[in-house]
Symmetry: C2
Subunit: 194 residues, 2 copies
């Protein structure tokens, strides 16, 4: 189960992980399995773990006053999943995180990340790059949410994350894009079949 994560980490460094590094990682990350519809986190809880997704598919979402779900983030193999704000600041999370498929995860605590950041250069290199990238990704998403039409947003999503488009049901993608599921269905018809 750790191998996928070792391979992932190796992509951020030049020299591959030593056996000591691997042992350190195995000490720090805890394997976890979630079945479809099981929750990694429920709103109101403090997110004590961040997770690397070895296998499976997850969604993170909030539920508003009217009971509507809003998907904030999706994740599959080799992605990270967690509410960073709750994780870092130790505050109650407003989000639920749920497995959409049977999933294999590696959990890490805040202390774990801090230890690794100190002792494992590969990990801090990864963290830095990831921060940078997710910064950029969320900027793009923000820009398109604010300035693009519903259809453009969908088209961007499809071209940017084709794997997600196949993996998640359309209504989830609609929610992720901030579009009503009915509207997305109509938009697709207008732009593709006609």
């Amino acid at each position: 189960m750790y191998n996928a994560f070792f391979e992932y980490l190796n992509r951020f460094i030049t020299a591959p992980l030593s056996d000591r590094d691997k042992a350190l990682i195995q000490d720090t990350f805890t394997p976890h399995r979630l079945r479809k519809k099981q929750f990694m986190l429920q709103a109101g809880e403090h997110a004590r773990y961040f997770a690397f997704i070895v296998k499976g598919a997850m969604r993170m979402f909030s539920v508003d006053d009217q009971g509507n779900e809003h998907i904030v983030r999706l994740g599959i193999e080799n992605w990270w999943m967690g509410d960073r704000e709750s994780f870092v600041l130790a505050t109650a999370s407003p989000y639920h995180i749920e497995a959409i498929e049977h999933s294999q995860l590696l959990y890490v605590s805040k202390e774990g990340t801090e230890r690794l950041a100190k002792e494992l250069p590969a990990f801090s290199a990864m963290k830095e790059q990831l921060d940078e990238r997710s910064q950029m990704a969320s900027n793009r998403r923000l820009t398109s949410a604010i300035s693009a039409t519903a259809f453009q947003r969908y088209a961007d999503f499809i071209s940017c994350y084709p794997e997600l488009a196949e993996r998640f049901p359309q209504h989830s993608i609609a929610s992720y894009l901030g579009i009503n599921k009915d509207t997305l269905s109509r938009i697709k018809r207008q732009h593709f079949s006609k």
Copy 2:
């Protein structure tokens, strides 16, 4: 001109900056002044500098195919301004960055940031914290852009950034929020005067 930045940095560390630190900073950051309507960056250029705003107000925006402007980011004193993606990846920026008021800036190159990250703990501490915070801020903005109504977004903005609301014209704020300026005007009337 550097003093504002020294004070800013001091808030991220326990021991205050030494004279050597200050000298290093003065060697690395270049003062720049922009008058109202002057550009720090124009779309198509590579963003070779990131800027700390000592005084003034700036906007970063894109222009779409129809010629409409979309404000992506606003900044005032003690904020950073720049297109991080273009800065880091050395790609052409899709954004313009313009001074809204007469502004005083401190420019830093990519090499400059790398040098400081190595040699000045205060700087890397700041960078890390800032990454974390801006991560959270853009997550929130994203969530509200996707799931909130136009009014809610405006109300959130006002309570979150009252300084910006006073400083920038209403149509800029509308653009920042992804709302039409006419719509924002109507929304305000409906919710506040009635």
